[in-house]
């Protein structure tokens, strides 16, 4: 029993060790890449279909084109074929921390199903991951507090993807939208009144036609 316990504990600690090393975190004073996987194929891929290099910039300045938002990426949607090796260069244009964090990858090779590049300030890092073959839309965001909510959200479609995610700037509407007042003026109410009048006149015209027809037929 003792031996069994010892063995178990040894096994489990080895497992922890290997998990930390596996796909590992590559860290330095500039940033961190998690689950950099340039050469291990997902189970459903026989070979790498294509090498796709993408450069993603993140920062405050890219959100200036979007009303009421604070941070975002320069592009918020990418499409790659199944089994592609995606080589991401993430460039942080701010002096603060930003992330390129992608979710939904197979857990058996990407712990927690994630691939992440985090850059601690101005600078860049490059890392790779290989996507499985199925059509799927992967969720990309920056998880620094409030950054996702205030605009830093994107999607990666593999193949045809599996639909769009909500609230991606310039692409999809938010699931819980804000409501804004409508800029009504005199013209708004005039056009409403006018269209009501037209509708009523339409009936009056129709009934006259009907009356004429009945008259004709009775004649």
């Amino acid at each position: 029993m003792k031996y069994l316990l010892l063995l178990l504990s040894l096994l489990s600690s080895t497992a922890t060790f290997s998990a930390m090393n596996h796909g590992g975190m590559i860290m330095d004073e500039k940033g961190m890449i998690m689950n950099h996987t340039p050469d291990k194929l997902p189970k459903d891929c026989k070979e790498i279909s294509e090498d796709v290099d993408i450069t993603i910039r993140g920062g405050h300045k890219f959100a200036k084109d979007f009303n009421g938002k604070m941070f975002t990426y320069d592009k918020r949607e990418w499409q790659v074929p199944g089994c592609a090796r995606v080589n991401v260069t993430f460039i942080n244009e701010d002096d603060i921390r930003h992330q390129f964090m992608l979710h939904g990858l197979p857990g058996y090779m990407y712990p927690k199903g994630m691939f992440t590049i985090e850059v601690y300030g101005k600078g860049q890092k490059t890392g790779s991951f290989i996507v499985p073959s199925r059509d799927y839309t992967y969720y990309i965001h920056c998880e620094v507090s409030t950054h996702t909510e205030k605009g830093m959200k994107a999607q990666l479609k593999v193949g045809k993807g599996s639909g769009d995610l909500d609230s991606i700037l310039g692409l999809t509407a938010p699931l819980t939208p804000d409501y804004y007042p409508v800029n009504n003026d005199r013209f708004t109410w005039l056009s409403l009144a006018f269209s009501i009048l037209i509708g009523a006149l339409l009936i009056s015209w129709l009934s006259n036609m009907l009356a004429r027809k009945i008259k004709k037929s009775s004649n």
């Binding site: 979007f66 509407a173 939208p177 804000d178 409501y179 409508v182 056009s191 409403l192 269209s195 009936i203």
Partner: protein, 549 residues
């Protein structure tokens, strides 16, 4: 009757159309934005944007140390230093100053009389003070605005009452102005007398409601020598001093310290309206003339002999608050019966909120004009703090730890004195502090423009607009401009000096506001047509049915 059947058959059609119309009803007034949020827009301002000057610099000649009628007063480098003639009159009494000095004050000739050196120590011992009751920013039947105007901060004019020395002449700056004369201001003046003085304080009730004077913490007998009311409480003494009447209270304080005086009629309301002031009894010393009025509180330009022994400077810091709902009761009617009803019966103190917070009668940024603590390194500065809000305050001076020397006018045993950086005062409490400017890492962290403010955060906003409230600055002379303004970033005060910012209308950091969405005309017109069809059909059915009968 085949026709009638036709009309009946149309009724379900109409009902369907109505259901459709309800279902398809457009969002007339607000709707979700979709993918792109509306463009930003500039705010809609209710009044044209106006930026107040930080300092008007009306009397630069008042700043220097000077001697008026033999009263050698200290330099006061503030933007709005105290009027030296008022200081001289407050030290000597109106009976001992020149006609020129008297004419340079707005005080009446009998506002302050000092006479009779009873103990022969070189200073007068019989002090006769006359106080009036004034109203600021009250209603007037001659204009939709308030009168006389007194801005506690840019564009902020809540109704305020205050005691004032008996005045003389106009209450406004000039005939064409609605602005209150400088002496008509909050808070009620600090009254300063010497320990052992025989003080006769007369309340001349110039106001439209009854009032009294109550001396809080100041040694006084329950009744005057002639048996009159001397505690100012209508339920234990005489009836209040009615409008147009006067009453004289008598004091001969045996104990020195920082105390209070206030009206004790409908005290909850009248105190919060501003009928309260600091009352300082100075220790007895030979040849000790004290500055009996410190109008607007703040810097004491002529400190008593005892203070000069220990301190380089002295400041009276009077913290007050305003409930805007109480304050407006005097602004909404000119009928005193209606004002009384609104203030004393409709207004409910138990539902009170404080909205404005003042230090020495001003809220930030106007505290910068006259409520700075000005200092030099290696000084001892006497601060007298009084809290006449109904909430607590917790004053913090950045970069300094001061020593509490007195609680409620009673000295603390020096070995038990506490040095700390937050000074909490409950309602009506007073603290005397020794603020040392020795750069030793404990008492002071060195020269600077150091904020000092209430750390109960409601107190640092003007009706919720921050920064405001009782924020003020402790400024070292090396960082003070010649006009008395602190050396701060050029644009640092732009927002707070703007009326629209104080009005809650100007977005912070020069950003824009979320804009409006354009109406969806296609939806609106289609829906209009649908409604038109329903109206037309209904008319057709009703007319047809009427005819068929």
């Amino acid at each position: 009757m085949p026709n009638k059947v036709l009309y009946y058959r149309l009724i379900p059609v109409v009902i369907t159309l109505i259901a459709l119309a309800v279902w398809l009803q457009p969002a007339f007034f607000q709707r979700a934005a979709g993918i792109n949020l509306p463009n930003g827009q500039l705010p809609q301002l209710s009044k044209p944007l106006a930026i107040a000057k930080p300092c008007l610099d009306e009397h630069p000649e008042w700043r220097a140390a000077q001697t008026v009628d033999g009263v050698a007063m200290a330099e006061s480098l503030l933007c709005e230093p105290d009027n030296p003639y008022n200081v001289a009159a407050a030290v000597k009494g109106m009976n001992n100053i020149s006609m020129r000095t008297l004419m340079s004050t707005h005080m009446a000739e009998d506002a302050l009389t000092k006479s009779d050196d009873l103990d022969g120590d070189g200073d007068p011992d019989i002090i006769r003070i006359k106080l009036e009751v004034l109203e600021l920013n009250g209603a007037t039947p001659d204009s939709p605005n308030v009168f006389p105007t007194y801005d506690i901060a840019p564009g902020i004019q809540p109704g305020i009452w205050a005691f004032s020395p008996k005045l003389r002449g106009m209450s406004v700056k000039n005939f064409r102005s609605n602005k209150a004369n400088a002496i008509l201001r909050a808070p009620s003046p600090v009254i300063r007398i010497e320990q052992g003085d025989k003080v006769y304080i007369t309340l001349e009730n110039t106001h439209y409601f009854p009032h009294t004077l109550h001396f809080h913490g100041v040694d006084h007998s329950f009744q005057t020598a002639s048996g009159g009311d001397n505690d100012g409480v209508p339920i234990t003494g005489e009836k209040p001093v009615m409008p147009g009447a006067t009453r004289t209270y008598e004091l001969q304080p045996r104990h020195a310290g920082t105390m209070l005086y206030h009206c004790h009629v409908q005290t909850d309301k009248h105190l919060l309206m501003g009928l309260n002031g600091m009352f300082v009894v100075e220790e007895n010393r030979p040849n000790n003339w004290v500055q009996t009025f410190n109008i607007g509180a703040g810097h004491v330009r002529y400190s008593s002999a005892a203070i000069k022994e220990k301190y380089d400077r002295e400041y009276d810091l009077h913290y007050q608050s305003i409930d805007k709902n109480l304050a407006k009761t005097i602004q909404e009617s000119n009928d005193i019966r209606e004002i009384s009803k609104q203030m004393h019966r409709v207004y409910n103190m138990s539902e009170s909120n404080e909205n404005y917070f003042m230090l020495n009668g001003h809220s930030f940024p106007y505290t910068l004009r006259d409520a700075l603590i000005i200092a030099k390194p290696d000084e001892n500065i006497k601060l007298r703090l009084a809290n006449t809000q109904h909430s607590n305050i917790a004053i913090h001076i950045h970069g300094h730890k001061a020593t509490i020397t007195d609680y409620d006018g009673v000295a603390v045993n020096p070995v038990a004195q506490i040095t700390r950086d937050v000074y909490d005062l409950s309602a009506a409490q007073r603290l005397d502090l020794n603020l040392q400017t020795t750069n030793d890492g404990l008492h002071s962290y060195g020269e600077g423009v150091w904020l000092f403010h209430d750390h109960v955060e409601t107190g640092v906003a003007n009706d919720g607009i921050s920064p405001g409230g009782n924020i003020a600055l402790m400024v070292y002379e090396s960082m003070l401009n010649p006009n008395g303004m602190p050396m701060v970033r050029e644009d640092a005060l732009d927002d707070v000096l703007t009326n629209s910012f104080q009005n809650k209308e100007k977005p912070l950091w020069n950003k824009k506001e979320p804009g409006l969405l354009a109406p969806n005309y296609v939806h609106l017109i289609l829906w209009g047509l649908l409604i038109g069809l329903i109206i037309g059909l209904l008319t057709f059915i009703i007319r047809g049915l009427n005819k068929a009968i």
